[in-house]
């Protein structure tokens, strides 16, 4: 071990004399710290990437709801798996979320009363999702609904549309 009189690792400001040697030492320190710094930042990025799943084991957010003929006019059909009401009115189809906008309970369609009722806190909605009464802050959202080329209904739960948009078949 050669006896040196210079500041030790890591990266301490130097106050020594032999300029050349100091620069080299300093350079090595910089390299080391730089490499480790980049490695650290890179690890964060890679870890972030690792934590974002590339596939999802979830029911697809876009789903087929079968042939339009399955739904009579003036009907509200609850799709259990997807928690969506497929509503068919004379003007056309729309898909209404079955999840109450208040605290997320799953609502029920009451055909006798002709309304959607939330069992938790008593919110009540019309078949088109507009609120009748109760603590729910917003009407039930409508999901995008379309018809596939082979003639089935297609609902996209990630896409909300205005209640005025109705699918005509």
């Amino acid at each position: 071990m050669s006896e040196t009189k210079h500041p030790s690792f890591p990266g301490v400001p130097f106050s020594g004399d032999a300029v050349n040697e100091i620069t080299r030492r300093d350079f090595l320190n910089e390299i080391t710290l730089g490499a480790l710094g980049i490695a650290g930042l890179g690890s964060v990025a890679v870890t972030y990437q690792f934590f974002s799943p590339n596939v999802l084991f979830e029911p697809p957010t876009t789903f087929r709801a079968g042939n339009p003929d399955l739904y009579p006019i003036h009907s509200v059909t609850f799709l259990q798996d997807q928690q969506v009401y497929i509503v068919r009115m004379p003007e056309g189809f729309y898909a209404v979320s079955a999840v109450c906008t208040h605290l997320g309970c799953v609502t029920e369609w009451k055909p006798d009363a002709d309304m959607i009722a939330c069992p938790c806190h008593g919110s009540k909605f019309k078949a088109d999702g507009t609120k009748i009464e109760g603590p729910a802050p917003r009407p039930l959202p409508h999901f995008a609904i379309s018809v596939t080329p082979d003639g089935e209904l297609l609902v996209d739960k990630l896409q909300n549309i205005k209640p005025a948009q109705v699918l005509k078949v």
Binding site: R25, L28, N29, A35, A39, Q49, N54
Partner: protein, 707 residues
């Protein structure tokens, strides 16, 4: 004491840089993953197509996954095979993996690919997904066996899978279920001839020859014949690999199988002597042979203009040279009462007269012979005791008792391996022996089928001679047998094989068994398909017509080769059958009480005739009294033959009665139906018709109405 040397710093600096560089490799590799490359090249490919916009409409740069939790399927094939549902990419010029799938009844996006094609669904790398690896032994199924995948769920035969259906038929037809357990192939009561009395039927020499070359017997001219005679279809008896000693042993053992004392049917010696003097004996026997329509089931080789052809049916054995095979005493006993020798035979019991019996036997024994049949068979002599003992041991060791019955020997059930899950077996479960074939299931099955000894020198399985299409068909059928579905969810999707539900009873059963009606006719899905399906015969035909026909079928259609044999049926038997048919073999759509022939008026008949001839032009397909088309059945005798209820139901909706009939559904009004029915019930052949005309008509009628 506290300072670091420059050398240490250098080491740390270098190692830090290397540390960084090495750590960066994995993210880089991850960035360049195979599936990402395919995603990118799909985008590039879509740019070159005219319908780019449609092709990339729902493109996402992620992994595509089809997840069927109920079936435990994770399928990521569509990540790379992205264009699989794009109709515009169906062209052969589209490079893989982007080409669209040919149209199939299932939606790819709903089911994924691996359910049919196998391979590793979760994989996102080409080799891992397609090939067999340590972690996934089921590679992609070669496309030529793809019908096997249909069969894993569709136990019932599908019209779209002829190869699979053929394979299943081969499995059943070749008695594979004799030794192996096969799902969906039931084990009949008897698979092969009962050998309890075989010693009374054939000689030891014949047995020797048969065991040695059941499939190919070469006559002295070098003609290869099968089953002793030339035939297209092979006999069920496979070729076992037997040594000379084994052949001698088995033939010795079998030739002494005369358990039942041979009660040959004795004709009066004086009568026989008188008959024997008749120089026309053999030719008269031949005439009777023809008149009884033996060729409906049996074929004979006929040489015409230098070309030898088999003429006749394939239900029973081919008989060209049978005279050299069987013992004449045995033959006469057999013809008189086949079930007496072989209870399960499909040969019906005819009501022969003694003279006919004698003549036909003489005909067979003298004319249907081949002196060369036993060439090459050594002089075997009387069986020795040690040979018999060896034969008995071999009979059990070789699994003969799996198919053949000998009284006093226990039948061998499940002699060979259980094949009910062969189609899903892992390579590690297979024995490849010293063979050099690729180690996968398909090659194993094919090698085993072609030459069982190639994968296992000690295999007991006999040798078959498949042609390539049959080999592939039977491989397909075996690959479809993947055992019970892995999950209950899949269980619900299984399309079951149609259950045969026909259990004759009582007096009918006795007659039905005696005449073996099921050999040619189908009853509720059970039986042969040579002759019309009789499931609803009771609804269709009038009782009297059935009786007449059964008693004398020959006058009705003598010109066709395959026709109802002349059973010489007694009036009682015919009545029993006709009664059963009219009572049991009924179609629910034809309601006898709904139509009362007495209510038909002359006006209705006239209207019906008018509709038949003018409005609907029925004569373009049907014949009445010699005029009309031959597409549909001849209706000249419809009034005596068909029941009014059947005619009425048929006119209303033919497909309800016979789903695949070509008769168009015309949507007649109720009045029109009644009028046409009234008209058709009046059609009778009052005068004795020309033989030919009537037979053609009748034949067409029975055939057409049944189809």
């Amino acid at each position: 004491m506290g300072k670091l040397t420059n050398r240490t710093r250098l080491v740390l600096a270098v190692s830090s840089v290397m540390f960084l560089a090495v750590l960066a490799i994995s993210p880089f590799k991850d960035f360049r993953r195979e599936w990402k490359q395919y995603k990118h090249s799909y985008l590039r490919f879509a740019q070159t197509r005219p319908d780019t916009k449609k092709l990339v409409a729902d493109y996402r740069p992620d992994i595509d996954q089809i997840w069927l939790p109920g079936m435990n399927v994770v399928d990521r094939c569509t990540t790379c095979h992205y264009g699989i549902t794009q109709a515009s990419l169906a062209d052969q010029s589209v490079p893989q993996p982007f080409r669209a799938h040919p149209p199939i009844p299932h939606n790819v996006r709903d089911w994924g690919c691996t359910i049919c094609h196998r391979g590793q669904g979760p994989a996102t790398e080409v080799a891992e997904a397609h090939k067999s690896t340590l972690a996934w032994e089921q590679p992609i199924l070669p496309t030529r066996f793809i019908q096997a995948s249909c069969g894993t769920c569709h136990y019932a035969d599908l019209p779209q899978t002829p190869q699979l259906t053929r394979g299943r038929a081969l499995l059943a037809g070749l008695n594979c279920q004799g030794c192996h357990r096969l799902p969906g192939v039931e084990r009949p009561a008897m698979l092969a001839p009962d050998l309890t009395n075989v010693g009374t039927k054939v000689s030891r020499e014949w047995i020797y020859k048969w065991l040695k070359e059941p499939r190919t017997i070469v006559d002295k001219d070098g003609n290869v014949t099968v089953n002793g005679y030339e035939a297209e279809d092979e006999p069920r008896m496979p070729k076992f690999r037997l040594t000379e000693t084994e052949l001698r042993g088995l033939s010795a053992y079998l030739s002494v199988q005369k358990a039942k004392a041979f009660v040959s049917y004795k004709l009066d010696a004086r009568v026989v002597a008188a008959w024997t003097k008749n120089p026309e004996l053999a030719s008269q026997g031949e005439l009777r042979f023809r008149q009884m329509f033996c060729s409906t089931c049996h074929s004979l080789a006929v040489t015409r203009a230098g070309e030898t052809k088999l003429i006749g049916g394939d239900i029973g054995p081919e008989l060209t040279k049978v005279g050299s095979k069987v013992n004449p005493d045995w033959l006469i006993t057999w013809l008189r009462d086949p079930q007496g020798y072989l209870p399960h035979t499909r040969m019906p019991r005819y009501g022969w007269s003694d003279e006919d019996l004698f003549k036909v036997t003489r005909y067979i024994a003298t004319k249907l012979t081949d002196p060369d049949l036993l060439t090459g068979v050594p002089q075997l002599g009387q069986p020795r005791e040690d040979e018999i003992q060896l034969g008995r041991r071999l009979f059990l060791e070789k699994g003969c008792a799996s198919c053949h019955v000998i009284e006093g020997l226990n039948p061998q059930k499940d002699f060979g391996p259980d094949l009910s899950a062969i189609g899903g077996k892992n390579t590690s479960e297979l024995e490849f022996g010293a063979s050099k074939i690729p180690h996968n299931l398909v090659s194993y099955i094919q090698a085993k089928l072609q030459d069982p000894a190639s994968v296992n020198p000690a295999a007991r399985m006999p040798q078959y001679n498949w042609n390539q299409p049959d080999l592939d068909a039977i491989t397909t059928a075996l690959l479809s047998m993947k055992g019970a579905p892995p999950t209950s969810a899949l269980q619900n999707l299984v399309v079951p094989r149609k259950e045969v539900d026909f259990h004759p009873t009582g007096a009918f059963e006795e007659v039905y068994e005696r005449y073996k009606c099921y050999s040619c006719h189908k009853f509720n899905g059970y039986g042969g398909d040579l002759a019309p399906d009789l499931t609803y015969e009771g609804s269709r035909a009038q009782r009297q017509w059935i009786v007449d026909f059964l008693k004398n079928p020959q006058t009705l259609r003598p010109t066709v080769v395959l026709r109802m044999p002349q059973f010489n049926m007694s009036g009682r038997d015919a009545a029993t059958l006709a009664d059963y048919m009219t009572m049991v073999l009924q179609h629910p759509a034809a309601n006898p009480t709904a139509v009362d022939a007495k209510q038909f008026t002359l006006a209705m008949v006239a209207l019906g005739k008018q509709l038949y001839e003018v409005k609907y032009q029925c004569q373009s397909c049907h014949t009445i009294g010699g005029t009309g088309g031959y597409v549909g059945p001849n209706l000249s005798n419809a009034g005596d033959w068909l029941t009014p209820a059947w005619i009425e139901a048929w006119l209303r909706n033919p497909q309800a009665l016979v789903p695949d009939t070509i008769e168009p559904r015309r949507n007649f009004t109720a009045d029109e139906v009644r009028a046409l029915t009234a008209y058709l019930t009046t059609l009778r052949q009052s005068i004795k018709p020309q033989k030919t005309a009537s037979t053609t008509a009748k034949h067409a009628a029975t055939q057409g109405a049944g189809r």
